[in-house]
Amino acid sequence: MGGLEDRTIPRVGRVSARRIESSDVVTLDVETPEGPMRYAPGQFNMLTAFGVGESAISISGDPASGRLVHTVRAIGPVSRALCNLRPGDAIGVRGPFGVGWPIATAETRDLLFVAGGLGLAPLRPAIHAALAKRSRYGKIAILYGARSPDSIIFRRELEAWRGRFDLQVEATVDHALDDWRGHVGVVTKLISHVEFDAEQSTAFVCGPEIMMRFVAQALVAREMRENDILLSMERNMKCGYGQCGHCQFGPYFVCRDGPVFAYEAIKSLMALREI
């Protein structure tokens, strides 16, 4: 991230493509006049829907491509407006912000990506980065939990990954009709389906906080170190660079010090209702 202007003034970009992932989730490709953006897996941008507002949205693209991709769920006025953008529409982009997934420092280790719902979007750049240098890592597993089969995002990509012999992909849903042939149950149950060396593994976890808490507990029960379990937190990010204090999380600002934290660092904070 550059100087103050870069941090505070949005670049005005255009939506170049729009893909519907599920009934309320859309992926937008964005182009800015400044050209491709350099970002690290796990970082986020502040996206502006002009006339409506700004919201923190994780980058969900492949960092090697340089393409700026965001996956948004329509849950409030800003995110709904972002989801309604069409190719050619203007969009504001401030960022990238935050500390991402330490994918490079996990080389030689087994990797577990555990995603819940929209949490697959912030993990996707890290998965791409790991697969781009596949031989440098040990076993890689992607465990994904979703509400129902029709709410699964990046479905075609998941299917393609599932077809690879150097990757284990398991998906589960909370409930399904008879035509679903995958797992049904909570995502923590999938952890028992994966073989990994607990001492030589790094887990990248992203999803609703309650899900991340239970996943972290299940990984600790498998004897993983708390420092090797990384979680992507979500709070009310506003400025994006630790000045406004809206996303304060104990001694941290999620936008500046996170969103990725080691479970060891935030375990006690996750139990505090006041924050």
Binding site: A176, L177, S192
Partner: protein
């Protein structure tokens, strides 16, 4: 040749069980196999056994008119299903259907109940194990009911 006792002892549910208790439980167990799509039990059937899945996957389902069969849980290798044989009215409360060729160990609940009645130490040990699975299952059900992946409102 693999003995049934050894196979049963390798199942997570029976892991670490006192050898004498394992021998007693083995007397109530047998190997079973189900083809893909085959019903293993149906709601309201007499519940006289439980299953430890060795290979394949089983869908636990409830049927709702107008919606069809709805799966609320799948069970795979190393997992078990079936608790209704423990307490009256001893009836299955869901359908279980093999999603693929499935091999399992079926344990006769009536036989095991009689052995537990006769040997309370065996009964206490097994009930602790069933209670532990029940708590796990309840916990998972709570998380599913919370609909954590749903949109925040």
């Amino acid at each position: 040749m693999e003995t049934l006792e050894r196979i049963l002892g390798e199942q997570p549910f029976f892991a670490g069980l006192n050898p004498e208790f394992l021998r007693l439980a083995t007397g109530c167990a047998n190997n079973v196999r189900f083809e893909a799509g085959e019903f293993i039990c149906k709601e309201d059937d007499p519940a006289d056994r439980f299953y430890l899945v060795r290979h394949g996957h089983v869908a636990l389902q409830l049927f709702a008119p107008g919606r069809g069969a709805m799966t609320f849980q799948t069970v795979g290798p190393g997992e078990m299903f079936g608790m209704s044989w423990i307490a009256p009215p001893y009836k299955w409360t869901y359908d279980a259907r093999a999603l693929e060729l499935t091999r399992a160990l079926a344990v006769d609940g009536v036989c095991l109940r009689e052995k537990c009645d006769h040997d309370h130490d065996l009964g206490y040990e097994l009930m602790q194990r069933f209670l532990s699975r029940t708590i796990e299952s309840l916990h998972a059900t709570r998380v599913q009911l919370l609909d954590v992946y749903g949109a925040k409102v």
